[in-house]
């Protein structure tokens, strides 16, 4: 193609968008709506997943020692724990700390009860390592490893909580993935639908061009330019809207529901858009391009 043809086709593509305002608006709107929904769900599920992750990290495995365990043994256990990859962090809780925490947790506001124990620590033997995991699903493995260590009396685990969280996380992941796949499929379908309706309407124009002697590539070029541009516009608009909405909403939610703050922190706008921008552009431009090419193929056989 000569440069002047290329330039001509580029200009025609732009003009086509203007000439077929109705379809251009419909296409851009469809694309905007679909990519907006996709972005919305992506953001929600990423945040939700983050929340579950955080909750997971709060689950601990507690290691109690043999009554006659030496400090040396206890230290060795600590070293062994520190070497495990699934461990996020761990800390040593002395018997006194354990009792103090007990009182605080369970006798809160009932000082008279706690007082009844006086200075007598009922949890004398309860010094322990509190271990926080990176991934709750690997808890069982860690527990059986720890139980095999010398000086370990017992390993306490919150079995049901762990399983619930693992299951819940998996469920959320499946649902999010399912929704996102459905959304991408729906978006792809609707967008290519709109593009192909737009082209079908102009099949007489395409036939005329071909009858005058235009090559397929020459007829196609403006439509493809149009498809790509519509894809571009239709993905930039929802990205801008999402950007504004997202940063405002996390701000608002963080203020309004401060009790939730402790439960989860939001994924930053930057992190979300790091993924969202390339995926959306690919979706918009890709479908715009592919949709127009595929539909044109049908009409070029004149």
């Amino acid at each position: 193609m000569r440069f002047s043809s290329f330039e001509y086709n580029l200009r025609q593509g732009l003009k086509n968008i203007w000439r077929n305002k109705m379809f251009s608006i419909a296409s851009v709107a469809t694309m905007t709506a679909c990519i907006f929904l996709f972005g919305l769900f992506y953001s929600i599920s990423v945040n939700f997943s983050g929340m579950v992750k955080k909750a997971e990290r709060g689950v601990a495995v507690t290691v109690y020692f043999d009554k006659n365990a030496t400090q040396d043994e206890i230290d060795k256990i600590g070293t062994a724990i520190s070497k495990r990859k699934e461990v996020a962090r761990y800390n040593f809780v002395t018997a006194d700390e354990a009792w103090a925490r007990y009182q605080k947790d369970y006798f809160k506001g009932h000082t008279n009860v706690a007082d009844s124990f006086a200075d007598d620590n009922p949890l004398e033997d309860m010094a322990n390592y509190e271990i926080y995991l990176k991934d709750v699903s690997r808890q069982a493995g860690l527990v059986s490893y720890l139980e095999g260590l010398a000086g370990v009396r017992e390993v306490h685990q919150s079995a049901s909580t762990a399983r619930t969280l693992t299951d819940f996380n998996a469920l959320v992941r499946y649902i999010s993935l399912g929704i996102i796949i459905i959304l991408i499929a729906v978006a792809a379908f609707l967008i290519s639908n709109t593009v192909s309706v737009g082209i079908s309407v102009r099949k007489e124009e395409i036939a005329i061009m071909k009858l005058i002697g235009a090559r397929d590539a020459f007829v196609r070029a403006p439509f493809v330019v149009e498809g790509i541009l519509i894809g571009l516009i239709g993905s930039i608009i929802p990205l801008v809207i999402l950007g504004l909405v997202y940063s405002n909403i996390i701000h608002y939610v963080a203020e309004r529901f401060d009790a939730l703050k402790s439960m989860f922190s939001f994924v930053s706008t930057g992190d979300i858009f790091h993924v969202l921008i390339p995926v959306s552009l690919l979706l918009g431009v890709g479908i715009g391009y592919a949709g127009s090419r595929i539909t044109l193929k049908r009409h070029l056989n004149v």
Binding site: S5, R202, E205, I208, K210, L211, I212, G213, A214, F218
Partner: protein, 226 residues
Amino acid sequence: MIKLEHVSKTYEAGVQALKDVSLHIRPGEFVFIVGDSGSGKSTLIKLLLKELSPSSGKIVVNGKDLSRISHRHVPDYRRKIGCVFQNFRLLQDRNVYENVAFAMRVIEAGKRQIKKQVPYMLSLVGLAAKYRSLPRHLSGGEQQRVAIARALVNKPKILLADEPTGNLDGHNAWEIMKLLDQINKAGTTVVVVTHNMEIVRAMNKRVITIRKGSVVDDQKGDADAI
């Protein structure tokens, strides 16, 4: 130049539009095709442009068997032909200038050439002043003249014109006919379908008459006889 051998065309609906038509049009000829409404004239033009394929028979144009031209090379073939369609077939979303220029862009003519040639063609058909109008803002005859300008702008080797003066007044019709005659004199083979017997008589060219899909008459004009 144009050769039809036992060409028949039956549409899907079962209508037999052309029946065993054999014709030979020599390079540089000027031929009128006449016949009743629905006799198959437009079908013949569509076959020559390879818009349709014959149900049977062979069409050879410029020494090429049309059925042997691959999809890839159809544009090359059509570029050598100028065609005025019965229903104009203008690009509705482009203005008069763009419609005519389009035929030149297709053959990748230079910008300068387009800028020179298009206004010249438009002035020849008397539409210089309307170059920015959209087809739907033109009168019937004006649209027809745009179609004629588009067919002629590339100086084609063969010109097929299906009822090019149906919407034109006598004066304009004559101007167009004179234009076609000039082009023919310059070497272009011209095939004109028309109902205007006044013009056919006056032009005194070869006249092929089709009736119900068959060629029933083929008379050399006096002009050719000389």
